[in-house]
Symmetry: C4
Subunit: 230 residues, 4 copies
Amino acid sequence: MTTEPGVSGRRSAADFSTARLEAFSDGVFAIAITLLVLDLRVPEPDALHGESLAHALAGQWPAYFAYLVSFLVIGIIWINHHALCGLARRVDRRTLFANLFLLLAVSVIPFPTRLLATYLTGRDSDAHTAAAVYAATMVVMGIAFSLLLLSFTRDARALRTPVAPADLRAALGRFGVGGVCYLATLALAYVSPVAMLATHAVLAVYYCFDQLAPLRRSPSKGGSRPTPPA
Amino acid sequence: MTTEPGVSGRRSAADFSTARLEAFSDGVFAIAITLLVLDLRVPEPDALHGESLAHALAGQWPAYFAYLVSFLVIGIIWINHHALCGLARRVDRRTLFANLFLLLAVSVIPFPTRLLATYLTGRDSDAHTAAAVYAATMVVMGIAFSLLLLSFTRDARALRTPVAPADLRAALGRFGVGGVCYLATLALAYVSPVAMLATHAVLAVYYCFDQLAPLRRSPSKGGSRPTPPA
Amino acid sequence: MTTEPGVSGRRSAADFSTARLEAFSDGVFAIAITLLVLDLRVPEPDALHGESLAHALAGQWPAYFAYLVSFLVIGIIWINHHALCGLARRVDRRTLFANLFLLLAVSVIPFPTRLLATYLTGRDSDAHTAAAVYAATMVVMGIAFSLLLLSFTRDARALRTPVAPADLRAALGRFGVGGVCYLATLALAYVSPVAMLATHAVLAVYYCFDQLAPLRRSPSKGGSRPTPPA
Amino acid sequence: MTTEPGVSGRRSAADFSTARLEAFSDGVFAIAITLLVLDLRVPEPDALHGESLAHALAGQWPAYFAYLVSFLVIGIIWINHHALCGLARRVDRRTLFANLFLLLAVSVIPFPTRLLATYLTGRDSDAHTAAAVYAATMVVMGIAFSLLLLSFTRDARALRTPVAPADLRAALGRFGVGGVCYLATLALAYVSPVAMLATHAVLAVYYCFDQLAPLRRSPSKGGSRPTPPA
């Protein structure tokens, strides 16, 4: 897992294989996405006061909605992270820290999710606060992902296949569109917290489609992709 | 972990190795199955009111029962997921999303488990609600697994060994039998929540036996299995 | 991760690589061992009633003691599980289920740990109950490990190197000694819960020493260990 | 994952590959770092007493501060652990136990973090106690990391590349500087808990810079690094 089969060149002493970066990141993504379930609260039997369980569960719809959106968001980030890591064959310390910053943003997501689930149907001003914290977390996460993207593509020699500057600009542009939308949801949080959450579901679907494709399409002029060892 | 040794053909830029899909999925399975233990509650000493701890623990039998069944269910899904991933050597984005849907169904299981543990011995109507939520989760999980199975076998070229249509139908049929039973437990939830839970234990044992075997038996006419690199 | 480099023979369609078994098991071990920390409770500021925090923390010594012993136990099981998996190059479904049984016993450990931490200094009869549940969990875990050991060594052809029957008996004997001690702690639980816990710490140290060594020493007559692919 | 491709020499029967050591450690690091989020508490709506949510959240700044520092600390330990594991190609049982000791120190971090978040702005004497527990955990963690470093470098034959004694001394010296600072924060805990926490943030940044570099720079006299299999 620490050796990289098929890499014939010298490996700088300060570099790391992407394999363990991925293993650690996968762990954090998997835990963050699974911890979300702890915030689907089971109503206390004593707190029902004669209300039916079905009714009490239905009243928790903000928790299910926030759960679904956050699950989708983390899942999509994971898929895009996966695609990003596929670009490079080794990473330096700077990339490790950019990655750590992204993991910070991802692993904190259960907190704003819980906050929104609790306050979405509460007092207006509190719902706005909770929604703004949620949207701000997503903005930070978007920034972290962009930094990681830049960090991965900065050192051309570390890439599996060279990325043309135009392709990098195209990918950054696509992410930029998403980033502007993320910022817009921060304003939307003060108008309609529910619309803010729904917009994040839509944005996740936007990122479903392969926005990193330009980076991988780069070296399409004739099989320059290094063939794996036979 | 991102390179696939032994794959000699070109790899489509949009494809992913199954290795990281498995690593992420294993993480989610492992966390979901382990988080179940958080719902085995230790009785508060102050809440015993002179009752012995042994008696209080015995009164929690629905929690142990639900824990065991859910543990078994997640464990068996993991084993079958493992077998499914073994069919393909690479996956596309569509399969990643089908997989994410399955992971959603799996990682939510601690919630209905907790719900059932809390309400199984409560008011009849609430026990029925809790049992129906549990059974419905399993139905969704069954649908997600079938979608993933179809997604994995849809692209014949991505399979390690070709699957004959008859074999695919046989495997789907076997899963269909289980799926109908899953639906039946949804009705059973309104009759006897305990019987519903017991049926899921039996169904898990049914899926223990290798229901995906037809898919792997397919190319048995003479060692067409690609030999690993020597 | 699903292909096994260096395995030149045919692979039975129903077999699994040990790699993913290990990945999933590592996940469960890692989560179970880390979830233990959730039961180190921070005293509520309101519940101190003028008592100093230092004093309140000192009063929680059973929680620290139980935490340390359970951490050690899970860590040692992991190391021995690691050694066990190293014996085989592929596993069948039966071994997967034996492994699932072991994972059940391991992932439930946070529950008796929490129970013991709560009741160790409580009413005598409740402390005995909590200690007995803890010891019983360890007995089940010991049985599960022995079943897995048998399951791994049953199919001689799946082993990396053949194990002589005498060596298998030697290893089982060593585990048997530990198993008898585990049973003895079940009785000890009704005499002194603290001594029961201390004995498990000692037993963990016993298993630290390589009790599976006979199995690996087996084929020492001249480098029959298959060399990895060059 | 258990075989080490490219290692041509004999492997002692009692040795383990670093791969699974890393997989298990990555799991524990990833879980410990992600569990921290569970201690970012959402204020109960009933407990606001007319106060705005924004105000209540702002009052929780010690929790965010402690979260950030602990996240950074665990992230940096992971990166350095990664670098450490890269030195060796196999480990013995003693190293496994040194590693288990480090994992104990890492996985317990959420407890002092929660303690500090709860008491940082409380009574002075309790804040000092909480800060001292936090600092002591870091001292133990530093000791554990140094033991692991010694354990990894003790057996020269297990290293990928030989480490010159002077280089080992240099690396130990750098870690020693950090260790003395860790001890100093233990005293600082009784002066200013906030300054203690800030110092740990600074120390984490110190360890960001590659303090293990001397160990890897060792064999720089002419490409003695074993080339991976081609």
